[in-house]
Symmetry: D2
Subunit: 311 residues, 4 copies
C-alpha cells in the first residue's frame, strides 16, 4: 500500500483488462473487443474498448481504450532494434493521440528509476527521443524545412525516494507551465506471469491510475487530473515476487488433485511479508531494457515526428 | 546568446562581483565587503553585500549577498570528502536561508547535464542529499523521532537539448505545485581563469540570472520569478575556451611591451567563431566532480538537516 | 549449467559451509569453528576452518578458512557508510592476506555487471579503492612520504556476455603480466534466504570455485589456478528465484501437517524451467548497492592501506 | 611526458602522417599516397603507405598503412547512425585485417575512461559490439547456423588512474591468455585543430605507439609488442588546450604583418604550465560520442561479422 523504496511497481492494467473479459463480458453492452494479427511481423494486437459508465463499473476499470501488442520477437536481439515493431507501435499511438492533422505539442514522460536496471525503461526511452519543442520555439518551423511539425518535449521526473515529491506533483507542475496538448507516459510494469516479460507492449488512453481505485488519487496521471489526454505505454519487465510464488504453488496444486480442497487456505497464507518489497527479473535484463527502450522511443519518434516530412 | 547544445555555461557572477569592486567602489554607499579567513581549514571567505538600488546599478548586479569561499584543499583527494569544507559551507547557506528556527520546506535543484562530466555537478549533488519530504508527508515527523525537521525535496530538471523545455519552466511548475519555502540551486560554472577551477564555491541569494541582463528573463531562477528565496551555489568546473585564449594572449602581450599599442585591436579579433561552442576542463575532471559534489551535498545536508537532532 | 546471460550468479559458499556443520561435524577431526560477537557494532562473526583433506572431503568444500560477518546494520542508511563495519572487515581481510609486515602487491578484482544493479557490487567496490601501484612504480614510495607501502591495483573484467571471454581467462592473463602477491576478488552472491540479503559479508581464502566441483575448472579463481593467494569477498544481493519458490512452498507445507507425506514429490516438481534465468531482489537495491559497496571498499582500503602511515 | 590523471591523450598520428607528406615526400621512394572520394556518402579517404625502413625513418613514423576517412556528416544527427559511414569503415578495416577468407579470432579493445565524456569513445564502442567468442566456444558454429564465422571478443581495460596498471600490461596479459589472431583498438584522440573534431576516422595497422618514440615502449600496443596484428581506430574528440591557444595566436599574428618578426619568440612562451592538464571539447560532446561510437561499432560488426551470413 505504501512504498518508500526507490522502485514502485504498477501492474499491467491493460493486459488484465483483456484477460478479465470472459465470453459473457464481451457480450456486455459497452465493451468491444477487436483482435488482429500482423503476420509478417508476428505481432498480435488486442484492443478492448470500454465505452459506457456501466461497462466501466462492470469491468472495474475506467472507460477508455486498452491495447495489448504481443510481439515475441521483442526479446530477441535484432540488427535494427525491431523497427517493424516500432512501426506498428506508432500506428497504435497515433490512433490514441489528439487530431494529428494539426500541429500538437506532446510531452513524453519517462517514469521509473534510472539506477535500477529493470525500472529504467522510462528514462531510457526518453534518452532516445527526437526533441523539437525548444528548436521550434526559438527558430520556428523553418528550422526543419517543413510546413507543419509537432513540438516534442520530454521529462524524467525521477522516483519519490530521490525527489521527496510525488511523480504526479512534478508532472502536473510541468504540464501547467508548458501546456502540452497531450502526454505520453512510459513505465516499466510488473507482469503477472513470467511468460509475458518483455514480450508485450500495453497502450491505453486512460493514463496511469495507481492503487486501482482505492481512493488514493494524488498519484494519478490522467486526463482528469492533468487536463490533457494521457497515453500510457507500459512493458512488463519484472514479476512481483509474491505473484510468482503464488503462481508456482497454484500450478503445483492443480497437478495434485488430492490437494484441491485446501487450495484457498494455502493461497491465503502466501502473503509472506518478506516478499513484499521484492521483485523478480531476468538475468539479461540490462540488454533487454536497452533494446526494448530503443524500440519504444523509435515508435514514439515515428508517431509524433511523421509531420517532419514536407507535405 | 543562444545555445542549443546540451551543455549551457553560466559564468561565475559572485566571483566577478568581488573582483570588480575597486577601492573606490568599496567606499560606495550601499556596498559592503567582509572578508574572513578560517585558518585551520585554509578557507578564505569574501562576502559582498549590495544593499541599495543605486549600488546595484553602479555595480551592474542585483541587490543581494555574494559569498565566495576559496578552499584550495577542495581539489585534493581526502579521506573524508573534506567534511571541514562542508561544515563551513553549511554555515554560509544557513545565513542565506529563511528563518531556520521554524520548519522549512526546501527544494534543491541540481542543474546541468549528467552525461557531460564537467556539467554533472548539480545532478551528482542531488544524488547524495538526504531527502525527507515524502517521509514526513506520509508518516509525520515521528518517523525521525524529532520535534522539528525540515522537508527536503530535490529535482534534476535536465538540459534543454534533452527536454525541449527551459529549465525555468520546469522549476517554476514544480515550485507552484509543491510550494517550498526556499530553493537551493546548484550549478557548474565557467571560470574566467584556470587557477580558480574547482577551488572556489560561490553562494548568493540572488538566484540565477542568465544572459547578464540582456532582457532575456525567461530563464531566471530568482525570488522575483519564482516567488520564494533562491540560494544559488556554483563551482567553476570549466573555462570558456574563448576566455582562455584571450587570457593567454593578454599575458603574452603584457610581456611584450612593444606590442602594447595593438592590444585592443587584437583582443577584438579573438572572437573566433569556432571557439564559441567549446569549453576547457581538466583531465581528472571525473574524480574532481565526484569528490566536490559530495562536499557540496554534505554541506546542504548539514545546513538543512540540523533540525533532525532532538532538541 | 550453462549461462549466456549477462548476469551469472554464484551462491554463497561460506555461509553454506557454516550451516552445513552439524554438531557431529564440528567434532569431526580437521574442522574447527570459532564464533565471536562485537557487541558495540552488533557484528556476529563465524569462522569455519577446514584443515585436512579428509575434512574437506567430508564437508564437500576445499580446505581453507570461511568467515561470515553478520552485520544487520549494513542494510540501513548511515551517515558514515558504516565505518565500524569496514574496520572489522579490514581485520578479517588482513588475517587472510599474506605477511603484511612486508610490502605486498595486491590486485583487487571486481566481478559482475555494472549495468545490472544487483550485480554491480564488484565494479562499484573497485570505483572507490585507493589505487597506488602506478604511482609507486613511477615515483617510488617517496610519493607518499612513507617507508613502506603496498601496491594496490584493480581490475573490472566485465561479464562473458560482453567480453566473449571467461572471467578467469582475463584475470589469469593480468595476473601473469603484473605479478601481484595476492588477489582480493569481490562478487555479489545469490542468497538462499531473503533474510540474509545485504546483511552478511562472506570472506574466504579459498577463492572462487564455480560449479561446485562438477569438473568445470576453467572458471576457477583460486591459488591453484592463479598461483597466488586469492581472498574472495561476497555479499548476497539477490535470491535465486527457484530457491525462493521452493522455500515458500516448504514453509507452507510445514504448516500443513497432512501434506507432509507428499513433500518430496512436490519439491521435485518445483524445478520450473522458466525460473532458471530469473533472480529476485529488493526494490531499493540501487541505494543498498551504493552503500554496501562503499563499506567494502573502505574495508579493503583500511586493510591494505594501513602501511601508508609513517612508522 | 608522464600523466597520472584519469584521461590520457594521444594525438592523431595518422592524420599527422598525411599532412607531413609534402610534395617532395610523395616522390620519396617507399611512400605511396592514394586518395579517393565516395561521392554519395561525401567521404574522402586518404591512404598513406610507408613501405620501407628508409621511408619510415624519413617520415618519422613506423612502416605501415595510415588511412584517414573524412566524413563531415558524422557530426550531424541521423536517423540510422550513418550506416553508410559504417559500411565504408568496414571496408577499410577488412583490408587491414589478416586473411578474412578463413575464420579469425578478433579481440576489440576499447581504450579510455567511461567516466569522462570525451574519452568514452572506446568503452562505448565496445558496448555495441556483437560478441560471439563465448558462444562459439560453448556451442560451436552451429549456434549461428553458418559454416564459417569469426570469434569476436572485447575488453575495456580502464585507465591507469583507476587500475594502477598500464593499459599495455592488461592487454598483453589477455592476449597471451586468449590468443586472438588480431586486435582492433579504439581510442579517442586529441586533434590539432577544432575543424577536425569528430569528423575524421583514423585507421592504421601500426597499432598504438605512445610517446612518439621517445624510448618509452612499455605502453605500446603493436604487433611487435603483442605478437599479433594491431589495427588502431581513432577519432579526434578533444583539442589539446595548449595547441588551441597556440593556433589562435598564430592566426592572429598572421593577420598582423608587423608582428611577423616576433612570431617565434611568442610561440615559445605559450608553453603555459597551467594548460598542461587541460583539454577542450564541444558542448554537445555527450550526443556526439553516443552517435559516433555507434557508427564505429557498427563498422566493426560489419567488418568481422560478415561471415555470419550462410554461404
Amino acid at each position: 500500500m505504501q512504498n518508500n523504496g526507490s522502485y514502485q511497481m504498477r501492474t499491467d492494467l491493460a493486459l488484465e483488462a483483456r484477460e478479465s473479459i470472459s465470453e459473457a463480458d464481451s457480450e456486455l453492452r459497452g465493451v468491444r473487443v477487436e483482435e488482429y494479427y500482423h503476420e509478417e511481423e508476428d505481432i498480435h494486437v488486442t484492443k478492448v474498448m470500454i465505452d459506457t459508465k456501466n461497462a466501466a463499473k462492470a469491468m472495474g476499470k475506467p472507460m477508455g481504450i486498452y491495447v495489448t501488442m504481443e510481439a515475441p520477437a521483442m526479446v530477441e536481439p535484432d540488427d535494427g532494434y525491431h523497427r517493424e515493431i516500432s512501426q506498428r507501435l506508432a500506428e497504435e499511438i497515433r490512433q490514441l493521440l489528439p487530431d494529428m492533422e494539426i500541429e500538437q505539442s506532446i510531452l513524453v514522460v519517462g517514469l521509473g528509476n534510472r539506477e535500477v536496471t529493470a525500472d529504467a525503461l522510462g528514462p531510457q526511452v526518453v534518452d532516445n527521443l527526437f526533441i523539437t519543442r525548444h528548436i521550434v520555439k526559438e527558430y520556428g518551423k523553418a528550422a526543419y524545412n517543413c510546413e507543419k511539425m509537432n513540438l516534442v518535449s520530454a521529462l524524467e521526473p525521477g522516483v519519490m525516494a530521490k525527489t521527496g515529491m510525488e511523480t504526479a506533483e512534478i508532472v502536473k507542475g510541468v504540464v501547467t507551465e508548458t501546456a502540452p496538448n497531450a502526454l505520453i507516459v512510459i513505465d516499466a510494469l510488473a507482469a503477472r506471469s513470467i511468460r509475458r516479460l518483455n514480450r508485450t507492449i500495453q497502450i491505453t488512453n486512460t493514463g496511469i491510475q495507481p492503487g486501482s481505485g482505492v481512493g488514493n488519487h494524488r498519484n494519478a496521471l490522467t486526463r482528469e487530473s492533468l487536463g490533457v489526454p494521457v497515453i500510457a505505454i507500459g512493458i512488463p519487465t519484472v514479476v512481483d515476487a509474491a505473484t510468482i510464488v503464488g503462481d508456482a504453488l497454484e500450478k503445483l496444486l492443480e497437478e495434485e488433485k488430492d490437494l484441491a480442497g485446501i487450495k484457498c487456505r494455502e493461497k491465503q497464507k502466501l502473503n509472506f511479508a518478506e516478499l513484499n518489497n521484492m521483485y523478480m527479473t531476468g538475468k539479461d535484463i540490462d540488454a533487454v531494457i536497452k533494446r526494448v527502450s530503443y524500440t519504444v522511443s523509435e515508435g514514439i519518434n515515428i508517431a509524433v515526428g511523421e509531420a517532419f516530412l514536407p507535405e
